[in-house]
Structures are given as structure tokens and as C-alpha cells.
Symmetry: C2
Subunit: 329 residues, 2 copies
């Protein structure tokens, strides 16, 4: 198994990328990695080149580059070369911490769409209070979606939940503004009807955003605009409250610090539950190969977990199953 | 000043309604209240009928009633009678803890829309980490919106922030999926342009949902579908994390309880910051009089704060200013 890694994407590249990849490499002995990026920066950080090849390039995509233009014009960019490796059959998956827009463009223009899917969806795994988590898509690969696109997300999310989470009959829900079947705008009403007519999908109906973290569904389907707002609202709220709890501990003088010490394991558990880095990266589903993105601010641990996630996707042939499904449909 | 109160709306009616109203009545000596509801239930709960009149009715709107049909057919429902008091000039504002949909229908069919505003917006006040808070609209009165409707929300939110929050130049932002001007779907791109062209509005551009609680804007404009998802995501995340913190304290044995005791003031501060009940209710802006809704699960404290909010809206003539603005526009 070969994974093509854009070593230069993200806020702390290439350091955290290399660190996370090496940790995964030591554990997953069936994986070979190709790191695309500046060899002069990468080489000194690399502990061992066992099953790691460096393909040198100094060009890279910046977060403020216009995605499609950047992918077309920066032909030697680390992200572009990583995507081309998959296109050429030299790698099974692409991994980047770079700009989501650029990675989507690289996916569309280089890796290619699955026939029958016109709009790939971005799908992260999100935490739930019971620690099980759920996947949600699309969270922002698109600013607008049509009903059939949301149905395709449901199908792809279902494949993912079966293969990667080992669920026999994943509960698929539609993010909506109420629980009743007639809720939402035209897009969501029509999507509800279409999902209800899918015989092999365990569609459990609408779910509202305040119940997402309670583990009410395994796959949550949403349009990219709403999904983006819901995801960011969850992230921002969790981050702010956990920071306030930390402040209460550290700014609370001796009492606060002592209290914090006594509550440490409990608070650490909560922080871990809402630490998205252990949930892996966000997959761009709808492309002919696994194209997975980790957060730009991700640390080495998040990189490690994302590589494990990619490994499982390739090993299970999840994308191949999705391709087969839509080809036969 | 007279406030018409639907005493029968909400999960804990009429008890919490009466309790909160009486607390406000004792403090706000310029307000008279009319409570619409079952006198046999209300009378025994009432400590004093000073400046409180009961109008007896046993009919009420249920949360699962179809809103428009219920408002039209249940002519003696407490919510309907309260709205009619405003229509007849017998009250200055309507207050209910009942169904949002029904209250919106009562607002549209009985109180009436402000000329120039075809779609009222629901506007709660949300917490920020600095304790200042912000208003956001629409959070769910509509499942779909057009650009001009969002511009109207901006204008109304701006009036509200000036009058009720005392801000000289409220920062108005558009909830979008990125900070750049060209972000979002057609609705949000067009709204961005229109807001940029408003000379008397301090439009500061797009804001993303993960920054909402950081106090980046005073008025956040959004379509009802996205706003609903963002609001609920914030509420659900805050509630779940604060509950987990409480569990860490109470399930942590002696250490946890001792730690909790030492952190108590800090944690209580956080819980208070995110306790939406002290921020008052959600106003349905775009109607000819203040029509304000408190959460169905609201307690007496939330009722009290919402009455204070209504008092300030009436005293400042906020809705009259909005009516004047749109009449002259």
C-alpha cells in the first residue's frame, strides 16, 4: 500500500507531517510513503527513511491561492505531485494538510470524480458524548447542493460507516431545522423524500443540530453551507468553553489549581472526547481514490490518526466499493 | 405600559410564567400585565394581582398544532387573545413561551407585518466569552430567505443593538462559510454586496460560525435555515460540555467533589456566561409591535429577564423606529 503525502501543507509543515507519518510508518508495516516537498527541509527532520521516499519540489500551494488556478498553474506543487501519483497509479491515496479548496480542486482535476457523482463532499468524523463519534457530510466542499447530491453523500457515508466503523446498519440522518418530515426548505424536503425511498439505507429521518453530539446518528447528511456552519459552531463552542474551564483552573489561584488537579482526569477525559485530532482527517468522498485532508493546524498526533484512517480506507477498499456502487447504479 | 402575556405557553406553564411576571412586576412599576389563560390554574399561583389582570380562557395552542391553522381556528386560545390585545391597542407587546411557529403565525395574521418587511426574523441574544453577547437573526422563523430579507434583518438588528444594548455603532456581520467577500452561495454573495452598499450600517463583512462566541460582531445576519443550525449547534455543544464538566465533578468521588468545590466560582461563571436565560427571549422582528418568545423550557428567571427586555423595547420605542424607517424607505 502506498500513500502520497503532501509534506508542505498546513501551518506546521513539514515538521508535524513527518513526525506523524513516521509514527504511523513504525506501526503500519504494510504502508510505503512518498513525501512530496522540500527535501532540504524534510531530510533533517526524518529519523529513518524506512518505507519513506522523498520527491523533492520547492513549489507549494498557499492557503490564499485561488484553488483551481493554483492547481492548474503550479504543476510542481507538492499537493499537485501527490495527486498525480494517485492518478498515475503510483499511490493508493493522497494526504494533505493544505487548503481544502485546493485539495478539492486537485481531487477534481487530477484524481477525478467517480462517475455519477458531480460534487464530492467533505466528511470529518465528529465527537459524541459517548465517545463513539459520527461522520457528517458535506461540511464545506460546496456552497450549494442539490437533493441528489445529498443522497449520494448518504450512500458514501453509509459505506464509510460500515467499513471504517464496522457498523452493520449505520443510522443515516438528515440535518434539518426540525424533526418532522415536512421540515426545511425545498432542498431538505426533497432530500428527505429521496432518502426515504432508498431501500438499502437505514434512514432515520431528520436530526437537529443541538442533538448532533448526543450520538443520535452515525451518518449525518447536510448541504455544504449548513454543514459548514454547524461544524464550525460546534468547534468554536467546544474550544471556547474548554478554554474557559482551563482559565477557571489556572486563574483561580491556589484553590483553582488544587481544584483542577483533583478534577484533572475528568476534565482531561472531556478534552479528549472533544479533541478532534484523534478522530482522523476529513475525507473528500466522491473521488476515484481516498483524498484525505487534516486540519491546517493539526499536530503530529492528528497526522498519525489520519494516516491510520487512510490505511483502513485503502485496506477495506471503501472507495472501490463506492465506485462499483455508482457504476452499477 | 401594558404587556399581554400568553400564560399557557411552554413546558412549565403557567407556573414559571406567573413567577417570572410577578418578579418583573415588583420591579418595573410602570408596567401592567394581562395574563391570558386558565384562571383556575393561574389564580392559586398568583401572590398578588397588583397590576395583573387575568383574562380567562381554557383554549390553548399545542406545540404540535399546525401553526396557521391553529391561530385561525382556535379563536379563544391564550396566545391568540394576547396577540389580539395588541392588535386592538389594548397592549404594547405580546409575550409567549409557546410554539415559535404559532407565535409567528399570530404575529403575521393578527399583529401584522411592518410595511416593507415580508418575512419577520427570529432574533435571540447569544453569549460571548467576554459576557457582552450579540444578537443573531433569523434563527428559524424562515426556512428560506432572499437577499433583501437579510438586509432588512441587518437594519432591524442594528436598531435593536443601538436601543437595547446602547451601542453607538453596532458591528453588523454576515454569517458565511469564509471571511472573503466572494464566499458563500448566491444568496450570501448577493447579500454581502447589498450590505456593503448600506451607508448607515457598520457592515464589517463575513463572520464564520467558529468565531461567533468570541464577540466578533454585535449583530449577526443569517438566513433562517443556517442560523437555526448554528444556534442549535452552539446550544447543544455548550449544554453537553457543561454537563460533562458537572459529571466530572459529581462522579469523581471525594476528589471530584472537592475539586468541584474549589473550582465552583469559576465553573459557575462559565455556566452563567452560557446560561441563555439571562439574555432574555427571542424577538420576532418585522411585526408592528414587540412579539417576544421565551424558550419552551424557560424557567421563571428567563421569563423575568424577557419581560425586562420587552419593557426596554417598548420604553425605547424600538419597533416604532423600525416602522418609521421602513415606512420612509
Amino acid at each position: 500500500m502506498k500513500i502520497a503525502v503532501d509534506a508542505m501543507g498546513g501551518d506546521h509543515a513539514p515538521q508535524v507531517v513527518i513526525e506523524g507519518v513516521e509514527q504511523a510508518r513504525d506501526e503500519l508495516t504494510d504502508v510505503e510513503f512518498t513525501l512530496y516537498g522540500d527535501e532540504q527541509q524534510i531530510r533533517p527532520l526524518l529519523k529513518s527513511d524506512t518505507r519513506i521516499t522523498i520527491v523533492h519540489t520547492t513549489e507549494k500551494i498557499n492557503s490564499d491561492d485561488e484553488p483551481v488556478h493554483a492547481i492548474r498553474s503550479k504543476k510542481q506543487a507538492s499537493m499537485v505531485l501527490a495527486a498525480q501519483a494517485v492518478k498515475a497509479g503510483d499511490a493508493d491515496a493522497v494526504f494533505s494538510l493544505g487548503s481544502t479548496g485546493a485539495l478539492l480542486a486537485a481531487g477534481l482535476l487530477i484524481v477525478g470524480r467517480i462517475r455519477g457523482i458531480d460534487r464530492p463532499g467533505l466528511m470529518p468524523t465528529l465527537p459524541t458524548v459517548d465517545g463513539q463519534g459520527f461522520v457528517m457530510l458535506d461540511v464545506g466542499a460546496n456552497a450549494e447542493n442539490r437533493p441528489q447530491q445529498l443522497v449520494n453523500y448518504a450512500v458514501m457515508g453509509d459505506f464509510y460507516a460500515r467499513d471504517l466503523r464496522g457498523l452493520k446498519n449505520p443510522r443515516v440522518a438528515l440535518l434539518n431545522n426540525g424533526s418532522e418530515a415536512n421540515k426545511g426548505d425545498a432542498l431538505h424536503q426533497e432530500t428527505y423524500k429521496l432518502l426515504s425511498d432508498m431501500p438499502n439505507l437505514n434512514f432515520i429521518g431528520n436530526v437537529e443540530a443541538d442533538h448532533l453530539l448526543n450520538g443520535v446518528a452515525d451518518v449525518v447528511v447536510t448541504d455544504g453551507f449548513t454543514g459548514n456552519a454547524a461544524l464550525k459552531a460546534i468547534e468554536g463552542t467546544a474550544k471556547n468553553i474548554l478554554r474557559l474551564v482551563k482559565h477557571a483552573i489556572y486563574d483561580g489561584g491556589v484553590r483553582g489549581k488544587l481544584g483542577g488537579l483533583m478534577l484533572k482526569s475528568g476534565i482531561t477525559n472531556i478534552a479528549q472526547t472533544f479533541d478532534v485530532s484523534s478522530y482522523g482527517g476529513a475525507a473528500l468522498l466522491g473521488l476515484k481514490a481516498p483524498v484525505v485532508k487534516a486540519h491546517g493546524g493539526a499536530d503530529a498526533k492528528a497526522v498519525y490518526y489520519t494516516v491510520r484512517q487512510i490505511h483502513d480506507m485503502v485496506q477495506n477498499g471503501t472507495i472501490t466499493k463506492v465506485v462499483d456502487y455508482f457504476t452499477q447504479a
